[in-house]
Amino acid sequence: MWAPSASERICERRNPALPARAGVGFKDAHFTAIEESAPAVGFFEVHAENFMGAGGPPHARLTRLRRDYPLSIHGVGLSIGGAQALDRAHLGRVKSLVERYEPAVFSEHLAWSTRATSFLNDLLPLPYNETTLKRVVAHVDEVQEALGRRILLENPATYLRFESSIYSEIDFLGEVVHRTGCGLLLDVNNTYVCAVNHGFVAEDYIDAFQMRQVEEIHLAGYAEDMDEVRGRLRIDAHCAPVSVAVWRLYERALSRRGSVATLIEWDNDVPAWPILMAEAMRAENLLERRRLPGDDDLRSEAPHGAVA
């Protein structure tokens, strides 16, 4: 069911991509350090919803960042995986923001966060079946039409799955990409967290992911917990350095994708700027290695649907 006109038009109008470099999730607390040291960061990413006020310091800071760095805007409030219609007022706010700052990328999540008029401030899970696929496709179409650009959809961190799922996550994302022409944001930490939480092999997920459509990668640290049978639970808390296991998975992803814009996300227990910068430099070094001549991008596109 290839939906031709809208998505094809949108694909033709791709915005200039983010540089294939390491970027950092922007935190207010780091603004002064960034201003003073003008760090060699590939790009900054911000949450759309934090810049939807009318004026004041947030816009002053973002304007300054946008002047000096490529920008990625990451939405957390569109509730693309939700059962209800998209909030048009909110979509309008996203559109204004994207028009104002013209980011290289706008991305959102395969998740939901709104019920009626209440915002739950978490990325909640959805079953992967025909019903939810139709909704997600319709919502992604609507966002892309409103913004007049291709968006990226991120694989979520989940702690539970649904009996009513009939697709693997990778197949579900693949269908959404196929029907809407959207791109993908591969969160490697989410992959790892899900692999532990649901008992699959993270490497298989990376090997099966549609790397051709990946235009950005996210890296973050997780927190550790246990479920009722003392099974390992990993929580996508963005509160720690990127783990060794996730760095390893990231290298595996890069070996398939080639170098691609990579974000360090650190949202809780935010460290001092130099620590965050060091994480970004570690990603930058891995990207640099991938940029060596002879290293082909996208060399192995594995068949989909092996896992998850």
């Binding site: 919803e49 934090n50 939807m52 006020g53 009318a54 004026g55 004041g56 310091p57 947030p58 816009h59 002053a60 957390v76 409030g77 569109l78 939700g82 059962a83 209800q84 909030d87 007022a89 909110h90 706010r93 939901w112 966060s113 709104t114 019920r115 008029t117 209440s118 915002f119 739950l120 401030n121 978490d122 909640l124 899970p125 959805l126 079953p127 019903t131 939810t132 702690y159 539970l160 799955r161 649904f162 009996e163 009513s164 939480n197 649901h198 008992g199 917990d225 246990m226 479920d227 009722e228 049978v229 099974g231 639970l233 929580i235």
Partner: protein
């Protein structure tokens, strides 16, 4: 095989917010027990995230009552009143009202007003930008016509009335050093304004809230002065005009 139950977001949300309810049907873990701990991750994410948001929005209230009390109070508010938009910086609009009705905090009668002040400061932060009226322009005004003139205010301007010295309380608790003892023997109405990038809170002189509210309602300076002197016997016009100019709350005086 029985068909899988259709996913019900309403049921999911009800269970998220009420820890006494079982997790919704149709969920799967790697084991066959009810996935309480896994569902609790989502319960935590929602509730803790929103408590954190309130803690960030109301740092002085938090400091006044302490972390533990604040988080327990905020948890109750979160369950009653979720954000109405994904704009988290707007969250907490009705927190002051909630605090006013919160029995365990009733011995701190100033707490709701401090919450109102903090919320107003947050709103000021995100208000539309505007250029304050330059003093050079003020100097050239025909003063004799001021009585009939009206004022335009910076969009961030808000008055927060209180029977307690909320600006002094706020100031004493925004410092990192240990708080000094404060005696609540006077009232302070607060003027909140963000002329440029910094949000400021000023304690208004006597009659100041009536004066500024009349002006903000479109009344002329003469009218505002009369209203304020009716409200406060010790209304000092010079002190109030000084506050207006010094706070840079004005964007224009319309002669």
């Amino acid at each position: 095989m029985a068909p899988s139950p259709e996913f019900d977001q309403e049921e999911f949300v009800r269970a998220l917010l009420d820890p006494d309810l079982p997790p919704p049907a149709g969920l799967k873990a790697t084991h066959d027990l009810p996935p309480l701990r896994r569902f609790a991750v989502y319960r935590n994410n929602v509730v803790v995230g929103l408590i954190d948001a309130l803690a960030e929005r109301f740092p002085v209230c938090l400091r006044l009552v302490g972390e533990e009390f604040f988080r327990a109070m905020a948890l109750r508010h979160v369950r009653r009143s979720l954000p109405r938009t994904p704009l988290l910086f707007e969250y907490g609009e009705d927190f002051a009202e909630f605090v006013a009705g919160f029995e365990p905090a009733r011995s701190l009668p100033y707490l709701p007003d401090v919450a109102s002040l903090e919320y107003a400061m947050g709103r000021a932060c995100h208000a539309v930008d505007a250029t304050p009226l330059p003093l050079d322009l003020v100097r050239s005004l025909p003063l004799e016509r001021l009585e009939a003139a009206t004022a335009s205010f910076h969009p961030s301007t808000q008055v927060v009335p209180s029977d307690y010295p909320i600006v002094s309380i706020w100031r004493a608790n925004m410092a990192t050093d240990p708080p000094r003892s404060l005696t609540l023997d006077h009232a302070e109405d607060a003027l909140v304004v963000r002329p440029r990038l910094d949000v400021e809170a000023h304690a208004l002189p006597s009659g100041g809230s009536a004066f500024i509210e009349t002006l903000m309602g479109g009344g002329a300076f003469g009218e505002a002065a009369s209203a304020a002197s009716r409200r406060a016997k010790d209304f000092d016009l010079t002190a109030n005009l000084r506050m207006l100019l010094a706070s840079e709350a004005l964007t224009a005086i319309n002669i």
